[in-house]
């Protein structure tokens, strides 16, 4: 089966996931127009400071505010009614306590006039404690099932994160490595949204059992999402 896709005006890519049209945004977020829901996965807030706390390694502590800026830009552009975090929103259990006061304020401000939904992930199994919003394991919305970690087997309509997909894309000119969406039309995996999150090549074994047909990658370019087929993908 060929995955159906269409470029949208905003630089995003509209794709069918289990008979449902969704928009893959250039930021790495997922937009569900009918529900006015914005979905982001794997923000890993306070990943930078976790290295300082654990190892004394002083990475720039600005990753949370950088991730927040990206998120605020999407919220400003789309005015979602619901903002859904698809798990691993915090890098570790103590990350929420390490948030700088002004970053925490910005997060709270995002909840004004909309619902915040925190799906839990393996890094943040309890979800946030002090921040507003609802903490859940998984969520059904508009015919899709949203959860952090993809379930094994055929899962039509599943939208997940966890794997941090990235594509190495090659043309005659050379090759580049970019974060990406990946979907076979049945299931959709979101790229990690956080500023310090790395990527796992979608040719890695971790992806091999998730898709029946060779999947399509939606690679995040400088200005838009590029649809990339299996022929142009390379291992690392």
């Amino acid at each position: 089966m060929t995955t159906r896709f269409q470029l949208s005006d905003c630089g995003g890519l509209a794709v069918m996931v289990s008979e449902r049209l969704v928009l893959l945004r250039g930021s790495g977020a997922l937009w569900l127009e009918a529900e006015r829901a914005l979905v982001v996965a794997d923000l890993h807030f306070e990943k930078g400071s976790s290295y300082a706390a654990r190892f004394g390694q002083m990475l720039p502590p600005y990753d949370t505010r950088e991730t927040l800026s990206r998120l605020e830009a999407e919220v400003a552009a789309l005015a979602p009614a619901t903002l859904i975090f698809l798990g691993d929103s915090f890098h570790d259990g103590a990350a929420e306590d390490r948030l700088a006061a002004d970053d925490a304020d910005r997060l709270r401000a995002l909840s004004v006039g909309r619902d915040l939904i925190w799906a839990v992930g393996n890094h943040d199994a309890d979800g946030p404690r002090a921040l507003p919003g609802q903490v859940i394991d998984e969520l059904s919305i508009g015919g899709l099932i949203l959860r952090h970690e993809p379930e094994p087997g055929v899962q039509p309509g599943e939208v997940a994160g966890h794997l941090h997909p990235a594509a190495r894309v090659s043309s005659g000119r050379g090759s580049v490595r970019k974060r990406c969406f990946v979907t076979d039309g049945q299931r959709l995996i979101l790229p990690a949204f956080g500023a310090y999150t790395g990527g796992l090549n979608i040719l890695d074994q971790a992806f091999s059992n998730l898709f029946a047909a060779p999947p399509l990658a939606g690679a995040l370019g400088g200005k838009r999402v590029h649809a990339v087929g299996p022929r142009s993908l390379r291992p690392d």
Binding site: R173, G174, V228
Partner: protein, 854 residues
């Protein structure tokens, strides 16, 4: 005769038994040591330089009275190469044994076993031979002060190769530390010929010392092991060198030179190709010359050229001459095999890159061949010095230019070498990321007070002008990361106690620092292994290659490596799997190796030669003809002018400039000009650069542009800043600084972090830091590095100043003779960057669409 008070009888007898007498510079070094003076010895290879450095120590150790307590290290010898430290250990033990001295000399490198290292700590050898990285580790050891308390002398070998680099910065800081431990320690530098010895003296010396009394230059008189040795030195008459370095604490000793080298330029078959880098046209003649020599070193500038030349020579090798290959990507084992075969005199030629620029002596080399242009006179003198390490026989060198501009460059280099003019280096300012590493090391060793460490650091030449503010910034960076957002104050890596002493926070911080010491940052490399199929098993390793190399290959592609053709099968983790493909024509994509920029000095000579028609007569007829055509069809600029040509070709309009400032500076200039041309609306489409020229092409003509405006120096302001911030060069420079400064780590206790992971995360860190704290210490360091290294901004600045108001514009209706070589290079280059990476994505997408429609 040697004065008896200089050389003990036991040592004089050793010289006499060999039919030698000590050379003048060897005696001068003994005098300096007896006077307690620091000394820099500058002498060509083969002049008994190493022995000159060690003789004073051998004498002191011989004359030292017996003592009850075990003595500490007397002399610390530091070499840039591990192999050289081991080699010198061997070479030093021979005279020690023959003189019957009871002196222990041992090497200690990254390859030394743990048991031996542990023993060396408990029972120090009299002479310890090691590398700058090992010294940095010593400096981060809690026992350092006691261990080096008896140190009398530190000897820095190949000082010319170390001082102008981050390794040199780290070493200078280490020497300053040693001096604190052992205030009476003497500093000795050994160096090949350099343009300005004062720069090396300043680096080596103890800053803030009062100017020396009676310090200055001692001259070797050329009296060597054989009485016939005379002739002028490649280092020139001593009078050519500045005699007094004002305020320098290190005395200068000049060794006698050998015979004048014989340098020739090969014009194969009487012609020189228009363009190219490989000198393929001359290979048959090069082979014949190798066959007629005893042993030849064939130097090339890149690994690609090395592989190529090796292949070509073997195609011609009907006689089956033992010709070997040596470059930095081959496995250490393979390189050692070649070196050993060379030492045994079994090889007739070695094709090599800068890996053999210095190091182990091979007496049998009688010819040095430089394939393609040498790029700098100083490096070439080093290379020529590899031939004939006997002072009385002239070294023979042959230049083989690969193109016409290279012909000019080779001629200029040959003249420069004969006239003894070498490339100048700019003075060195110590890098702050290196200082950060040193500060952390000091904290791992023992508690320090800020003011004391500041004073000590400023005694190191490269840090003489370090401001207190910068020092505090560095210490804050080491402690908390130095962020305006004071998030990490509670996680400090180094902490101050109530008495004002700073020390490492805990044992974990110490261990992590010690695992990451060093100022050499290599690009991420993958192992090249034999293996194929779907599940490759760990086959034999044939070498290493930079990660980026395999990113250009698709499984099934063939390439040349280690002198053979291979098929690329897969890249798994840090291993590239390949199988031999002996019958295939290699696809051979571009092969990253170090590319040296043309030295400023040599570039100036080329410009002069080009302008002066009398000099053309020294060039081959086809090159002379080419220059005459250029004069008739376009123009030949004056020495201080820059030629700029504009002409249409096909549907494009070209602008070709000839600054002769080297590829790096040209690339930077092209990037900046392209931005400006874009703003001017002429629609620049692409550019290509080589060492001599740059070529920009556009949609619209560029004849009418105001050139003085276009080349205004203000392009080094905002334009440079804007472009630089986006540039992958900055990301690479930042990564290197982050590794050296300890922000990210190469190795964690218990796990190896692969270069691949580091590549990814530093780019993310760079993007975030640049946005939120653009004035952070490490971004400052990265900008400084990019400006001097990758981008050559300093040189570009000089260029813009030089050509201001002196651009000679030739508006032509077709391509000029000079422009042909650079036109031929179009299509061979690709410019990485954000625009290019989006283009790759877009192309891949078109590919998908085509696939969908077919």
């Amino acid at each position: 005769m040697v004065p008896a008070d200089l050389l003990p009888q036991r040592l004089s007898e050793w010289f006499a038994a060999r039919g030698w007498s000590p050379r003048a510079h060897q005696l001068a070094m003994i005098e300096k040591a007896k006077a307690g003076r620091d000394a820099l010895l500058i002498a060509p290879t083969g002049g008994g330089k190493t022995l000159a450095g060690f003789l004073p120590s051998l004498i002191e150790l011989y004359e030292r009275p017996p003592r009850n307590a075990p003595a500490g290290v007397h002399t610390l010898y530091i070499s840039p190469l591990k192999a050289l430290a081991v080699d010198v250990e061997r070479n030093l033990m021979t005279p020690i044994r023959e003189m019957g001295l009871s002196i222990v000399a041992e090497s200690r490198t990254g390859d030394t076993g743990e048991a031996r290292k542990a023993r060396q700590r408990i029972r120090p050898p009299d002479i310890l031979l090691t590398t700058p990285e090992q010294l940095a580790l010593f400096c981060a050891w809690e026992g350092a002060r006691e261990y080096f308390a008896d140190l009398s002398c530190v000897i820095i070998d190949e000082a010319h190769a170390m001082w102008p680099s981050k390794r040199g910065d780290l070493l200078a800081l280490g020497i300053a530390r040693l001096q604190t431990f052992a205030p009476r320690m003497r500093r000795v530098g050994l160096s090949a010929t350099v343009d300005d010895p004062d720069l090396v003296r300043r680096w080596l010396g103890k800053n803030q010392d009062p100017p020396p009394e009676g310090g200055g230059v001692a001259e070797g008189d050329g009296e060597g092991s054989k009485p016939t040795s005379t002739a002028s030195s490649p280092s020139g008459p001593p009078g050519h060198l500045p005699l007094q370095g004002e305020g320098l604490s290190v005395d200068l000793v000049l060794g006698s030179g050998g015979a004048q080298p014989v340098v020739e330029v090969l014009v194969s078959g009487g012609r020189v190709p228009w363009a190219g880098h490989t000198a393929q046209h001359a290979m048959a003649e090069v082979y014949d010359i190798i066959a007629a020599s005893r042993t030849a070193l064939v130097f090339v500038n890149t690994r690609f050229q090395a592989e190529f030349a090796f292949q070509e020579l073997w195609k011609l090798n009907d006689e089956g001459l033992p010709i070997a290959l040596h470059h930095g990507s081959l496995s250490a084992e393979q390189r050692r095999k070649v070196e050993a075969a060379m030492a045994r005199g079994e090889l007739r030629a070695v094709v090599c890159t800068s890996t053999l620029d210095m190091g182990i002596d091979w007496g049998d080399v009688d010819l040095v061949i430089q394939l393609a242009a040498p790029k700098g006179a100083s490096r070439m003198v080093q290379r020529i010095g590899r031939a004939n390490h006997r002072l009385d026989e002239p070294s023979r060198a042959l230049f083989v230019p690969a193109s016409r501009f290279e012909m000019l460059e080779c001629r200029a280099a040959a003249d420069a070498i004969l006239e003894n003019h070498l490339d100048g280096e700019p003075a060195r300012i110590g890098a702050l990321d290196v200082l950060a590493q040193h500060v952390m090391g000091c904290a791992c060793s023992e508690p320090f007070k800020l003011v004391d460490l500041y004073d000590e650091v400023r005694t190191a030449g490269p840090y003489a002008d370090l401001s207190w503010e910068d020092f505090e910034t560095v210490v804050d960076f080491v402690s908390t990361g130095g962020y305006a957002l004071r998030t990490y104050d509670r996680f400090r890596r180094i902490v101050e106690d109530k008495d004002g002493f700073w020390k490492a926070r805990n044992a974990q911080a110490v261990q992590r620092h010690r695992m990451n010491v060093g100022a050499i940052v290599s690009p991420a490399v993958v192992n090249v292994r034999i293996g194929g199929g779907r599940r490759p098993m760990g086959g034999r390793k044939i070498g290493e290659a930079e990660e980026g190399y395999f990113e250009q290959l698709t499984p099934g592609d063939t390439f040349v490596f280690a002198g053979q053709v291979w098929r690329f099968n897969s890249l798994v983790g840090a291993d590239a799997f390949v199988t031999p493909a002996p019958d295939k024509d290699p696809k051979m994509p571009s092969w990253g190796g170090s590319k040296f920029p043309l030295s400023t000095y040599l570039a100036g000579r080329v410009r002069k030669m080009m302008h002066d028609e009398a000099e053309w007569l020294a060039l081959p007829p086809d090159v002379q003809e080419w220059m005459a055509y250029q004069k008739a069809r376009s123009l030949i600029p004056d020495e201080d002018e820059m030629l700029l040509e504009t002409f249409p070709r096909g549907k494009r309009f070209h602008m070709v400039m000839y600054p002769f400032e080297g590829r790096l500076a040209h690339t930077t200039l092209a990037m900046l000009l392209t931005r400006r041309l874009d703003r001017l609306g002429v629609g620049p489409l692409g550019f290509v650069c080589n060492d001599y020229a740059l070529n920009i092409w556009s949609l619209k003509p560029m004849d009418e542009l105001d050139l003085n405006d276009l080349f205004d120096q203000d392009m080094l302001g905002d334009d440079l800043e804007d472009w630089l911030n986006e540039s992958f060069l900055m990301k690479r420079a930042f990564k290197a600084c982050a590794l050296v400064g300890g922000l990210i780590e190469r190795r964690y206790p218990g796990e190896e972090k692969s270069g691949r992971q580091v590549t990814f995360s530093t780019d993310l860190i760079y993007d975030v830091l640049r946005k939120h704290q653009p004035d952070h210490l490490l971004l400052r360091c990265a900008r400084a590095d990019a400006a001097t290294g990758q981008l050559d901004v300093a040189r570009l600045g000089d260029l813009l100043a030089r050509i201001k108001g002196r651009i000679r514009h030739a508006a032509l209706d077709k391509v000029s003779p000079f422009a042909v070589p650079i036109m031929l290079e179009i299509g061979r280059e690709r410019a990485p960057g954000d625009a290019a990476s989006d283009m790759i994505l877009a192309e891949a997408e078109e590919d998908l669409i085509a696939e969908a429609l077919s």
